[in-house]
C-alpha cells in the first residue's frame, strides 16, 4: 500500500517545564512511499525518525498535516484501526506466552466475521513461521530464544495479520555484528516474498543503503532527501546528506569558484561549468575514492600516515582548508601507493611530505556556504598543471 505524508508536523511539550516552547520532532514532512517497496528511514539519533514511524503506525497523532494509506486518509484513525504491523526495537515479545501464542496474539483480536478458529490461527502461524524460518521454535518462550530468533518471532507477529504496512524500529540494533549482516539480507528477502510496503528506521547508513529500495534521510525533524541509495550517494542534495552517507565520510574543503574553476587553497583542482552568477566561496566535498594519486596531480595534501588494508589503502592527510574534520581520508588502490610515496616504502618518515592527487570530477560535490544546498555544476578535469 502506498503511504503518503502530507505536511506532517509533530510537536511535543518540552520536557523541561520551564521552557514553554514545544519540541518539534517532525517538521512539515512531505513524502510518498510507493507500494511494495522497502524504505529505509535514515538519520542520526534524535532526528525524529522513530517519531515518524510512530506517526505512520498511529501510536502518535500528528499536530498538523495528513497521512494517507493508499487514497484513504488515516490521520484520525488510532493505531488499532490502521492495520499496520510494527516490530519494536527490543521486540516487545510477551514473555509469558509461547512463540506460537505470541504470533497468533494479533489474530485473537479479530472479531465478528473475521474471527478465526484455533485451527485457522495455527495454520496462519505455521505459514508465517515458515516464512521467517522459526517453525521449530513454536513451543518455546521468548526467554529461551537468541536475539536473532526473538526478532524473527517479532517479525512473524507483525506479519501474521497481513499488515497494509510493515514498520520496523531499528530492527538490527540489538543484534551482534555478524548476525546483523545475515539478518538484513533476511529482511530484504522477507519483504520481497511478501511484497508488503515496509518502512524501517535506522541510524546506520550502511544498513539502510545495503537493503533499501529507497532511503529517506532526515535531520533535526526535517526531511532532507529521498531516493535510491546510490542516487542519493551520488547526488546529495545538501552538505548534511553528503556528510551523513559514506564511510569514511566525504572530505569537505572550503574553496572558491573562480573563473570557471574550483580552487582550494590557491590550487585549481577542477574545471567547473557553472552559471555566471555563482562565484566566490563554496564547500567542496570530495569522496574518499575521488583521489587519484599522481606525481604531478593538481591537488597537494600534507601526508600524515598510510593505513594499509589489503586491497585498498587509506591515505590520511591534512589540508589547511579542510572543514569539519581533523584529517582527510583518501582511499586508493594498494598498487597505487608507490605513486604517492614516490617509490619509497610506506614509512613514518614520510609524514609531513606533500603528496599530490588528481581529483575525479564525478566524486566531487559543491555546496553553498550559507545554505549548504547543492550547487549544480558540470565538473571536469582541469588543464594539466605546468610543472
Amino acid at each position: 500500500m502506498k503511504v503518503t505524508l502530507d505536511h506532517v508536523t509533530k510537536r511535543f511539550p518540552n520536557r523541561n517545564k520551564k521552557i514553554r516552547e514545544d519540541v518539534i520532532a517532525v517538521n512539515d514532512f512531505t513524502f510518498e512511499i510507493p507500494d511494495g517497496k522497502l524504505i529505509g528511514l535514515l538519520g542520526p539519533s534524535g532526528c525524529g525518525k522513530s517519531t515518524t514511524l510512530n506517526l505512520i503506525s498511529g501510536l502518535e497523532m500528528p499536530s498538523a498535516g495528513r497521512i494517507y494509506f493508499g487514497d484513504t486518509d488515516v490521520t484520525d484513525l488510532p493505531a488499532e484501526n490502521r492495520g499496520v504491523g510494527l516490530v519494536f526495537q527490543n521486540y516487545a515479545l510477551y514473555p509469558h506466552l509461547t512463540v506460537e501464542d505470541n504470533i497468533t496474539f494479533p489474530l485473537g483480536n479479530l472479531r465478528g466475521a473475521e474471527k478465526l478458529t484455533k485451527a485457522q490461527m495455527h495454520e496462519k502461524a505455521v505459514e508465517v513461521a515458515g516464512l521467517v524460518q522459526i517453525g521449530e521454535l513454536m513451543e518455546r518462550r521468548p526467554s529461551e530464544l537468541s536475539g536473532g530468533q526473538q526478532q524473527r518471532v517479532a517479525i512473524a507477529r507483525a506479519l501474521v495479520k497481513m499488515p497494509s504496512v510493515l514498520l520496523l524500529d531499528e530492527p538490527l540494533s540489538n543484534l551482534d555484528a555478524r548476525l546483523r549482516l545475515q539478518t538484513r539480507e533476511e529482511l530484504a528477502r522477507i519483504q520481497r516474498e511478501t511484497g508488503i510496503t515496509t518502512v524501517f528506521v535506522t541510524h546506520d547508513q550502511e544498513e539502510a543503503m545495503s537493503i533499501s529500495d529507497l532511503i529517506v534521510v532526515m535531520k533535526d525533524g526535517l526531511f532532507q532527501q529521498m531516493g535510491k541509495p546510490q542516487d542519493v550517494y551520488d547526488h546529495p542534495d545538501n552538505l548534511f546528506v553528503a556528510r551523513f552517507l559514506g564511510t569514511p565520510p566525504i572530505n569537505v574543503f572550503r574553496g572558491q569558484i573562480k573563473d570557471g574553476s574550483v580552487v582550494i587553497g590557491g590550487e585549481t583542482v577542477l574545471a567547473a561549468d557553472v552559471s555566471d552568477d555563482i562565484s566566490g566561496d563554496v564547500y567542496v566535498g570530495i569522496r574518499p575514492e575521488g583521489f587519484l594519486p599522481s606525481a604531478d596531480g593538481k591537488f597537494g595534501l600534507t601526508l600524515s600516515k598510510i593505513e594499509v588494508m589489503g586491497r585498498d589503502t587509506t591515505v590520511v592527510a591534512t589540508h589547511p582548508d579542510l572543514d569539519g574534520a581533523a584529517v582527510i581520508r583518501a582511499i586508493i588502490r594498494s598498487d597505487e601507493v608507490s605513486e604517492v610515496l614516490s617509490g619509497s616504502s610506506s614509512d613514518d618518515s614520510d609524514a609531513g611530505r606533500i603528496v599530490r592527487f588528481d581529483i575525479r570530477p564525478e566524486k566531487v560535490h559543491l555546496f553553498d556556504i550559507a545554505t549548504g544546498h547543492r550547487i549544480d555544476a558540470k565538473l571536469s578535469a582541469a588543464a594539466r598543471r605546468r610543472s
Binding site: L59, A92, H96, N109
Partner: protein, 298 residues
Amino acid sequence: MKRYFERYKAWLYLLPAILFLGAFMVYPLIDVIIYSFEEGYNFVTQTSRGTGFYNYGYVLRDPYFVQALKNTFLIVIITVPLSTGFALLISLALTAIKPLRNLFQTVYFLPYVTNTLAVGLVFMVLFKKTEYSEGMVNLLIKAFGGSGVDFIDGPYWAKLFVMCLYTIWVVLPFKILILTSALASVNPIYYKAARVDGTRPSRIFFRITLPMISPMVFYLVITGFIGAFKAYSDEVALFGTDLNAAGMNTMVGYVYDMLYGASGGYPSYASAAALILFLIVLTITCINLMVSRRNVHY
C-alpha cells in the same frame, strides 16, 4: 590468641542474633510441640499427667474453638478475594490517572501506619447502636429506607460484616502499594504492541497485564491467607477482649485466651490449638504455591 580470635570472630558478630533467636524462636518452637502432647499440664506445679493426643482432642471438641475456626475461615474466604480484587481495581484506576496520583497513594497508605486498635475503636463507634444514638452507619441505612441493626452487639451476620469490612480496610494499603508498583513495572512497550494489533482493553488486561503481574497477585493471595488466618487484634478492637462471649473469637484469639485471659492458664491447649492453626496455614500455603507454580510462567 589473636589467630584464635580471628577464626571465631564471625561467630562473635552472630552471637547476639543466635542467642536471641535460639531463646525466643527455636527453643519455643520445640517446646510448644512438647507442650501440645503433655496431658493436663499444670502451669503452677509444672507437671503433667502423661503424653498423648488428648490436648488436640479437647481443643477440637471445644465449641469455642469450633466457633473460632468457623469465624477465621469466614474471614479468610471473604476478605482475601475481596481485598485483593478491590486493591487491583484501585491500583488499575491509580495507574490510569496522572494528576493527584501521589496524593491518592499517600491517602490510601494511611491505614497501614495507624494503630489498628485505635482506629478499630472509631469503627466501633460508627457502627454501634447506643441508648443515646443510632450510630452513624445506621442513620445512613435508615436514610436509604433500611432498618438499623447493632453491628457490634447485634446479630452474627452484622458482626461478621463489620469485621470483614474493617479487615479489608486494614489490609488494603499494603495490597494497593504492591499492586501499583507491580503494574508500574510492566514495560509500556507491551501495551503499545498490543494497541498496534488492535487489542481490546479487556483482552489486554486478561492476556497481558494480569499474567505479567501474576507473581505479585499470587504473593498477595498467599500473604493474605496467612495474615487472615492470624486475625485477632482487629476483632479485639471491634468487639473487646472477651471475644468468646461476643462469639467473634478467632483461632489466634482462642490460643491467647487459653494461655491467658478470662479462661486462661492452659498452655497445653494453647499449644495444641496453635499447632493446628500452623498446620492449616502450612497446608493452604502449599496448595497455593502449587497452584501458582502451575499458573505463573516466568
